[in-house]
């Protein structure tokens, strides 16, 4: 897993690729904390290169969503496909994030 944060004006994009599971989710927590602390309010999570996600990875993204929303911001998730898409659909997160 690699997670790359890019800030452009108001917008922040997190590109997460590879494997977001119980092992690697620990590594994105500090990045999520920083996005929230910086009060970035237009966040896009780009998962086009994400190969596999599990419930801990989903939990981290939901946590990002809730905290950015609490700051008055928005989180969109883009690029979902294959296994990650199946998980997001099962957990009905496709209605939450404008996928």
């Amino acid at each position: 897993m690699t997670c790359t944060r890019t800030d452009q004006g108001d917008k922040t994009t997190l590109v997460i690729d590879g494997l977001l599971d119980a092992v690697s989710t620990a590594d994105i927590r500090p990045i999520i904390d920083a996005v929230v602390a910086d009060r970035r309010n237009l966040v896009t999570v780009d998962l086009a290169s994400l190969r596999l996600i599990d419930s801990s990875g989903v939990g981290a993204i939901i946590s990002l969503y809730k905290r950015v929303r609490a700051n008055g911001g928005e989180v969109a998730v883009t690029g979902l496909r294959d296994q990650p898409l199946a998980i997001f659909k099962l957990l009905r997160l496709d209605r939450v994030f404008s996928i």
């Binding site: 494997l19 599971d21 119980a22 092992v23 596999l52 599990d54 419930s55 801990s56 989903v58 939990g59 981290a60 939901i62 946590s63 969503y65 809730k66 294959d82 296994q83 199946a86 998980i87 659909k89 099962l90 957990l91 009905r92 939450v96």
Partner: protein
């Protein structure tokens, strides 16, 4: 029959998931969704053993996979803490829970799930493939 024994530790998650993915391909459905759902369910079951079952001591996980013509059964055995899978309620997805999703993923993606507490604990899960069904059960 495929048998894998590894430490019940997240370090070995990737190895186990890859073995299960390869086993799922042997069912020969040619359906990526089938394989994705098997891998998703297995990954949650392995996480739970590593994080809950073996929270207080280390131990091994035994993974047994039976590959049928249009089905696959995975048995997971561990000697960690036991629990009662039927005690675990489905999450309320509307509240956007950040945890407690693993068992729900397992139940949703597999057709049969059973758990026997003991020495070892035994979690068994079966997924069947049927092209007709499949269109309908796609989330």
């Amino acid at each position: 029959m495929i048998y894998v024994r590894i430490p019940g530790n997240l370090r070995y998650r990737d190895l186990a998931v890859r073995a299960v993915a390869a086993a799922s391909k042997l069912v020969g459905t040619g359906d990526r969704h089938f394989d994705d759902e098997v891998v998703s369910a297995f990954g949650e079951a392995f996480n739970n053993i590593a994080l809950h079952g073996y929270r207080d001591h280390q131990g091994e996980v035994e993974i047994e996979i039976e590959v049928g013509a249009d089905w696959l059964t995975i048995h997971l055995r561990d000697r960690g803490a036991s629990f009662d899978v039927s005690d675990i309620p489905d999450p309320d997805l509307d509240t956007l829970p950040e945890s407690g999703l693993g068992i729900f993923i397992i139940r949703s993606f597999m057709d049969e799930v059973s758990y026997l507490a003991g020495e070892p604990n035994l979690l068994s899960m079966t997924k069947r493939y049927s092209e007709a069904d499949h269109g309908g059960t796609r989330p």
